[in-house]
Symmetry: C2
Amino acid sequence: MTAIIENYWITILKSLAHPTRLQIVIELLNGTKCVTDIHEILPSSQANISQHLTVLRNARIVDFAQDGAQRCYYVCRPELIEGLLNLLRNEQPEIVQKKAQCCLRNREDGAE
Amino acid sequence: MTAIIENYWITILKSLAHPTRLQIVIELLNGTKCVTDIHEILPSSQANISQHLTVLRNARIVDFAQDGAQRCYYVCRPELIEGLLNLLRNEQPEIVQKKAQCCLRNREDGAE
DNA sequence: AAATCATATTCGAATATTCTTATATCAAAT
DNA sequence: ATTTGATATAAGAATATTCGAATATGATTT
């Protein structure tokens, strides 16, 4: 099983790796919101919120339903996003390996 | 339950949101490796690998055990990283909301 | 102590991201 | 048709990230 990295994994991770965008996503998990709603909750400008929503939409993390002049944004892959957030919330203790022998480079007794 | 974003969530997400770094982490999940090992697997320069390892280490995603002149790197929060990767691997279908009414802005009948 | 192997750091250029300002689009109401 | 409310886009400055080249550090061997 070779380690395959899909390009869109990077896209998803990049999209979430910004405070405002992560906050937007968290807010949307609590319920569909239009741009003005989000603008009222977060301290960013309307244009900036809109730009971030475009990034999230390109990453297929959010989508919207048009309602008149409004666009009601929602998280279109809630399981993925909630799963990621849950993992981040469950801060686990770090493993410490005191001694590790990772490879046999430069060892006389290196078998094979 | 307010939506709290921890700074280190962003740090973790940012660290993983780079092809080389994500690849490094995936390789390390398969077993501890020193810098030269990683250098032999990935197409980046030694200096660059080292730089990326520093980023991952600052995010507390990897750590190393010194073994002579070598540094054997390993993923120090494997549950977190494997969890994230598993979520990314399980591509889930996107939800489509045809009609959404996200807020009662500008509606006569808007109750409360 | 000099040479060598393994790894890290510094510097700087190239590139990408972010945010602000201004403007454009588009639907609904007047 | 004009205005208004809601949202998007364009342009550009400010900032951050990335990576190569050169060099430094530190452990091991000779």
